[in-house]
């Protein structure tokens, strides 16, 4: 495959790919499990609103939780069955905290709800976006941002280029690769649909040069279209959206803007394939491809219904090869440990690696930083990780923010090359969440101060009014005064109402 890009971002690393582990077998479909656990929080934004209660019978593809507001996504039943319970279950999240989930007991009939494909060529863009808001489709590359929000554009903001992210730069992960090999047509059709919705002039697919079969499949599917397939060198993290845009087009997205402000929008291959399935076939988002790899007997990719417990997947992959039972969600560079084997598959789960001491040896002892700046050479965002490390370590959080800590994409390149084995990414994660928590508590303190000040002012005002009323009563003599008094109390009451209204407007 010929590389046809000339732009290169600073840094990046080339870890061992380990992708052939899981590309030997085609995508297998997993049988329906005994239980499906669907978290209400599988996406960025507001949690979905429940639409069912325990005991309800649901059909495959039926909406069981509705998107709450704009930045939210719906959840659909992956198969037909009965709602067993709504309870707190452990989620696949680094915190290990539980959250509300809908548990479905399948009836194994797998009856579809009436599928309603949408003739997307005929209806207007607003209606299409409204329809997609009901589809439950979120970014399946791992960012899980509601897709319909990415398709909504302002009137004065046009998208001229649609970029399809087929890079899949992290080692071990091959779900996008297999999807491209087996279902390239769906991807290309989905890309064309998305291009039409966005009214983009150009559509480019960015793929790394280690995916030869996928490239051929995509090229074949895109033969009669104007979609360009561009090959980029295999370098981690080329799959990061802003890095990919730079590799393909040489445009650096400013740090305070989104790429859509520059007229470029990026979608993952699996997301556009899901858009195709929803609009052409009427199937909402109920499953995804997950790579099971690492220390399992037969690593491969599975098409899994959301909510399937992870233990089913591990058994389907032949079972563990080690007794350790440690699982990593995501890739080895950005993934995290899963709290248990019984977590459900969610929209964000693209890969699960079973860890073993041979694959991921225990970390070596941490030495002090020797300021060699290898991390700065490896950083794809051209930050200075050693400065951020010193500030995060000494909790000088304002200085860390000044040195652009929030530009860090937590890719792990810096820790990968550190001779002192310092866990740099953990320090940045700590510093970022600490700064966000401190900002939140400062805001809360400001609100409390305002409320207190308003209360003190209100009490002052009430005291004054009471004193006035008393003074009036003391001065007053019979009728004329009584009439005047009545008039003035009415006027004072109206004043108060007006003042209240004014204060409410000001707050």
């Amino acid at each position: 495959m010929q590389l046809n890009n000339i732009f290169k971002f600073n840094g990046g690393v080339q870890p061992e790919e380990n992708k052939t582990l899981s590309t030997g077998l085609p995508i297998a479909r997993l049988p329906i499990p005994k239980k499906l656990i669907l978290p209400l929080r599988q996406h960025v934004g507001q949690v979905a609103k429940l639409k069912v209660k325990p005991g309800d019978q649901v059909l495959k593809g039926q909406m069981i939780a509705e998107a709450d507001g704009n930045i939210s996504a719906s959840i659909h039943a992956p198969t037909s069955g009965k709602i067993l319970k709504i309870s707190e279950e452990i989620l696949p999240h680094p915190s290990g905290l539980p959250d509300f989930c809908i548990t479905i007991e399948p009836d194994f009939e797998d009856i579809w709800i009436e599928k309603k494909p949408i003739s997307w060529k005929k209806i207007g863009r607003a209606q299409l976006i409204e329809a997609l808001a009901q589809s439950g489709i979120v970014g399946l590359g791992g960012a899980v941002f509601p897709t319909h929000m990415k398709l909504k554009i302002n009137q004065n903001q046009t998208i001229h280029t649609l970029v399809i992210n087929a890079a899949e730069c992290e080692p071990f992960i091959t779900c996008d690769d297999m999807l491209m090999r087996e279902r390239a047509d769906e991807i290309i059709q989905g890309a064309l649909i998305t291009q039409t919705i966005l009214e983009a002039k150009k559509c480019v697919v960015g793929i790394e040069n280690n995916k030869i079969e996928a490239y051929e499949a995509l090229k074949k599917a895109a033969q009669k279209t104007s979609i360009e397939i561009k090959v980029v060198p295999t370098l981690y993290p080329s799959g990061d959206a802003k890095r990919l845009i730079y590799l393909l087009m040489g445009i650096e997205t400013p740090n305070d803007k989104r790429s859509s402000d520059l007229g470029i929008q990026v979608f993952n291959v699996a997301t556009v394939a899901a858009i195709y399935r929803y609009l052409e076939l009427g199937e909402p988002s109920i499953n995804r491809i997950v790579t099971i790899t690492g220390a399992v007997k037969t690593p491969q990719n599975f098409e899994v219904l959301f909510g399937t417990p992870l233990s089913n997947l591990i058994n389907a992959a032949g079972g563990s090869l080690t007794k350790q039972k440690k699982f990593i969600m995501g890739g080895p560079m950005m993934g995290f440990d899963l709290p248990s084997i019984d977590v459900p598959v969610t929209k964000a789960m693209n890969c699960v690696i079973e860890s073993s001491p041979e694959l991921f040896p225990a970390p070596k002892p941490v030495m002090p930083c020797i300021r060699c700046a290898r991390c700065a050479d490896a950083c794809p965002v051209n930050l200075q990780p050693q400065e951020l490390y010193w500030f995060s370590k000494s909790s000088q959080l304002e200085k860390a923010r000044e040195y652009n800590l929030f530009d860090c994409i937590e890719c792990g390149c810096c820790s990968y090359v550190c001779p002192s084995n310092i866990p740099l990414v953990q320090f940045y994660r700590y510093a970022k969440s600490e700064i966000i928590a401190q900002d939140k508590s400062k805001e809360a303190a400001n609100t409390a101060r305002e409320r207190n000040e308003f209360r003190l002012a209100r009490m002052e005002r009430e005291k004054k009014e009471r004193a006035e009323r008393h003074a009036q009563k003391a001065l007053g003599a019979q009728d004329k005064e009584a009439q005047d008094e009545k008039k003035s109390t009415i006027a004072a009451a109206m004043e108060r109402v007006k003042q209240n209204q004014q204060e409410n407007i000001n707050n």
């Binding site: 915190s95 905290l97 953990q426 409390a448 409320r451 207190n452 000040e453 308003f454």
Partner: protein, 178 residues
């Protein structure tokens, strides 16, 4: 020599008046550091009076339990004095809590509503009272006035929104066990 001194003096005096920066008065700057719980544990009826007292020099910087040692440190830096750990006579730093009214016991007397410094209790005479949890600062001023003792303080547990990554503790000796 004298002429030079007079000239420089005039220049300095003019700049002091012309380029004077109207920064926040000291009281506002101290108040910005205080946690705004408005609990009164410092001995003053609210955070602003305590800030005023610190600015005047009447109060010490370590009298605020909700601010804890971290708050005392920030105040010490701002005032340019030496850091003193929290004076526990005023109370200990407790984890963030919000008040909770037991609705089956509440009699609707409005005494707690009058006590709350940030108006975080919703209710009226003979109507059910309830705490607006998002505005409650955990100051505990509503607990004493309640005649039926129906208000409790519940600690706020970590949830998905408030979860933070912890400070990585990696010691040379400990890393071997990781």
């Amino acid at each position: 020599m004298i002429f030079l001194a007079i000239l420089l003096g005039l220049v300095l005096g003019y700049s002091a008046i012309k380029f004077k920066v109207d920064g926040d008065p000291m009281v506002a700057r101290i108040d910005a550091i205080l946690p705004q719980t408005q609990c009164g544990q410092c001995g003053y009826p609210g955070c602003k009076p305590y800030a005023t007292a610190i600015a005047k020099g009447e109060a010490d910087i370590n009298q605020c339990p909700p601010g804890g040692d971290a708050g005392a440190k920030a105040l010490a830096e701002l005032m340019g004095v030496e850091f003193k750990p929290l004076n526990e006579e005023h109370g200990i730093q407790k984890p963030k809590s919000v008040a909770l009214i037991d609705e089956s016991t509440c009699i609707g007397c409005t005494l707690c509503i009058q006590a709350c410094p940030v108006d975080a209790i919703l209710g009226a005479a003979k109507q059910m009272h309830t705490i607006i949890a998002s505005e409650c600062t955990g100051c505990e001023l509503c607990l004493p006035p309640c005649p039926v003792d129906c208000i409790t303080l519940e600690p706020v547990h970590e949830n998905f929104i408030s979860w933070k990554w912890k400070y990585p503790i990696y010691n040379i000796q400990k890393a071997q066990k990781a």
